[in-house]
Assembly symmetry: C2
Amino acid sequence: MANVFPPSLKSLVGALQALPGVGPKSAQRAAFHLLERDREGLARLADALTAADQKLEHCKHCRMFCEGDECRLCTDPNRDGRALVVVETPADVAAMESATDYRGRYFVLGGRLSPLDGIGPDELGAGQLESRLAGGVEEVIVATGATVEGEATAHWIAECAARHGVPVTRIAYGVPVGGELEYVDGSTLARAFSGRRAVEE
Amino acid sequence: MANVFPPSLKSLVGALQALPGVGPKSAQRAAFHLLERDREGLARLADALTAADQKLEHCKHCRMFCEGDECRLCTDPNRDGRALVVVETPADVAAMESATDYRGRYFVLGGRLSPLDGIGPDELGAGQLESRLAGGVEEVIVATGATVEGEATAHWIAECAARHGVPVTRIAYGVPVGGELEYVDGSTLARAFSGRRAVEE
């Protein structure tokens, strides 16, 4: 980067590249935008990052982000501790909560099995999942993504649950609502076909 | 956003939307990325933002970003104070410095004339530019963008310089180096044609 920038501007442009998908050019653009047009937003972002860094931990039960060591979902007495939805990311918890009427608890893996990237069961909180399964869970609902790694992760969770004698279900994968067969991709259609179910009368 | 996120995570996702082109979804993605995969980058970004907010001011002479009230380019005794390049943004200074061998000084407008957006001469540092023109400048080189607002801004600068009896030139706009006439857009070609110059022998 140009020598004409003062050190603190250079560090800011460098630090902004920690954001996903942000390279030198867009980091520079973001830095100038904040400095010239949104000083208030800049200060607010600095404070929010500092606060998040200091406060946010993973819940010791479900690995969701929380302030303190237990999250609201795990301590809420109105939620059913017998059902456990296992998802990949905290964002998936948010998606489930806003789209469904599920009132049980969650377990956030924080990724999916991917041996090539060095992500094995330990990285996904295998120990915490086991102790969760041993603690009164009566149904595990696997809600990992419909990708190759998501499948592998689902199999691994099913094995863990089987060891504890807990029944496992998996959310349905198939033609999305509003989808027309003609425009659905082949893999999805094949999956929907192989996952066909008896029509309830 | 989902209720399931703790307050400091919600504030972080909100604050990240101050960045240009970042909406709720990409802010959430960026927050998770920093929190889960790059805590060090998160802390570094927080520090860099705080430092930039505290240290960076505009140079009192040229309006470039600097720490303190005068920038390196304005205080460097090896630079020629008789030439003044006027650009729109600090990034343009960096571009000029890395591409040309110009060794004079700069003036950063911090935008371009755009009456509809409430950006007039005062917002572009008219007062500072006038005092700069009164202070021994012998050539003003206008390097604003080749846009409608850039043109209007160039005219305004030329007027200012004329009032101080300072000659004005403008960088050349035309077919870019490596450009083939067939693929250059019509406006650029028209501009290149009308801006034709005598061939030096």
